[in-house]
């Protein structure tokens, strides 16, 4: 992608079992410390692109396990509120999860276990990136394509971008910055979108709304 062309890519994740399973909270902590960083990423973000039921109660797989299998609602809440966006990298995110587990272990006088068959299975993933063959050089044309973008495209450009781009930003913002200050308002609005606690479908709608509003403001004389 050059500064002047935004090429719409799409992606799919294919999960791979690591073979590591935790049956109690201590094992879970120990495995978390050493598991492939792709596994931490997958368990925070992979759910967006994988089979799930509508309106999941918790936002990451660790919190879901704590709730459904460990039956520890306090831990589930503490894990669910972790916002993976605010960490510079996966290692910082990993440390935060481990810290919360350590804290919970120190509060308990026993190590919580799950029944056989309810272990936490650590999974990582491969990402496949597709080229849609569609590209835009004018930010005002791109807006038309947003409602029709696949959920994989939204994931790739808005979520996966955070681990690829220098400032951990979404691809739209990085591209728009290439136009100087012309779209600085739009960049600010896009950067303010919280991609967590949502579905990809909702995220697509929000990106479109923010993009439209910002360009409307621009056509009314303010900077986009």
């Amino acid at each position: 992608m050059t500064n002047q062309t935004f090429r719409i890519l799409d992606c799919a994740l294919i999960p791979i079992a690591t073979g590591e399973k935790a049956q109690n909270l201590r094992e879970f902590r120990d495995l978390l410390k050493k598991i492939h960083s792709g596994s931490i990423y997958y368990h925070f973000w992979g759910g967006l692109l994988h089979p799930h039921f509508d309106d999941p109660e918790f936002q990451n797989d660790f919190a879901v396990w704590a709730s459904r299998d460990l039956h520890d609602p306090k831990l589930a809440e503490q894990l669910s509120i972790i916002d993976p966006n605010i960490y510079k990298n996966v290692e910082d995110l990993r440390n935060e999860v481990v810290e919360i587990i350590e804290e919970r272990l120190s509060e308990s006088d026993h190590v919580p276990w799950v029944k056989a068959g309810h272990e936490f299975d650590f999974i990582r993933s491969q990402i496949v990136i597709f080229d849609t063959g569609i590209s835009y050089s004018d930010p005002e044309e791109l807006i038309v394509s947003i409602p029709g973008m696949s959920l994989g495209s939204i994931f790739f450009h808005f979520i996966d971008a955070r681990r690829r781009t220098q400032e951990s930003k979404n691809d739209f913002s990085v591209w728009l910055k290439g136009f100087g200050d012309r779209y600085s308002g739009l960049v600010e609005d896009l950067d303010a979108i919280d991609p967590y606690f949502t579905t990809l479908n909702e995220l697509r709608q929000e990106i479109h709304r923010v993009y439209s509003n910002s360009l409307k403001k621009a056509s009314n004389g303010k900077s986009a």
């Binding site: 799409d10 799919a12 294919i14 999960p15 079992a17 990136i129 597709f130 080229d131």
Partner: protein, 416 residues
Amino acid sequence: MENLLEQYAQIVGNEVTDHIRQLANPLKGARILHVNSTKEGGGVAEILNRLVPLKRELGINADWEVITGEKEFYQCTKKMHNSLQGDRDDISSELLAIYEKTNLENFERLKDKLEEADIVFIHDPQPAAFLHYCTGRKGKWVWRCHIDVSHPYRPVWKYLREYIKGYDASIWSLSSFAQPLTHPLYLIPPSIDPLSDKNIELPENVVSEFLDSWGIKKDCPVITQVSRFDRFKDPIGVIRSYRLIKNYVPVQLVLAGGGATDDPEGSQVLQEVKAFAGNDPDVHILELPSDAHRAINALQRGSDIIIQKSLKEGFGLTVTEGLWKGKPVIGGDVGGIKLQVLNHYNGFRVNTPEGAAMRIRYLLKHRELMEAMGRNARQLVLDNYLITRHLREYLTLVVALLLGSEEKIELNYPAH
């Protein structure tokens, strides 16, 4: 006439079929060979029946071969199947010798194809020993496990693992099934084919005709379990549930089973089920041939609730089929049913005949909930469990194996 992919695009959208075309581009001309143990009956054969022609349409040189053996071979592989699902049943050295001999004979028959293929998919334990005999292979080999191996009987798994560990990758339906091995353990749930006779839309009059032909009444709710007659599917438990319901609500139970050529226990279990059901006119036990796909389709569509009260389950494609037809599903809390059925969302997961009876009574009393659950049910399958998603993941795996990519695979060309 439209090609297959165009027909699927009408159901799943162009974006999905574009992904598939892109993935297939670097694989044009590649020789991909699937080997399993039956051409008909069972979910594996059904999936291969469509996956192979789809791959061919995409320009891939796909082929499918079936292993053959004597009665003792299938006795051995059935025992293997049951032991991998947790039965503590040792297999005699005589039977294992037949397993090895049959694998060797089949390998010799298919040697040229197996050695020349770029990718070989070996399905389930029956042909798993092929790799051991294949010293001159050119391609990558993948073992596809369709069964629940979450708690295998260790001696049997240990025996089989010696054959599996040399594969380049393995595929498991659920993460909890995956056994530790040094090669990549891909997680790919199976799928159903919305265009197949078993899942295609049927006119109401066709559904009615089938129900009439079996003597199923229209004015009385129908609860159906479609499964081969296998103890792990708990058909006796289903009849117990039915008896707990019929004291309160008029209801009909249908137990429909197709035969699979690799299941020698089926007829024995069927006799037990018939004896247990007795002469109750509202219990219909249907022995359907393995190719009675339209009949099963009609039966599922004509049912009010689908039940799949398995005690062990691989993925549970009959659950997927029921969900696709917009029916709430009462499923055992095992295997892939846990991935497909969520309480109050598209059905209920249960642990006992009593639990199944309670949930069915609840649903029959709240018909409006059944409709909402049915809508959720169909959407879940549309989003996640159709053959197009399955094909995409198989192709991804093949691309990853052939291109040797670890975490990221980039396909940098347009779809058309």
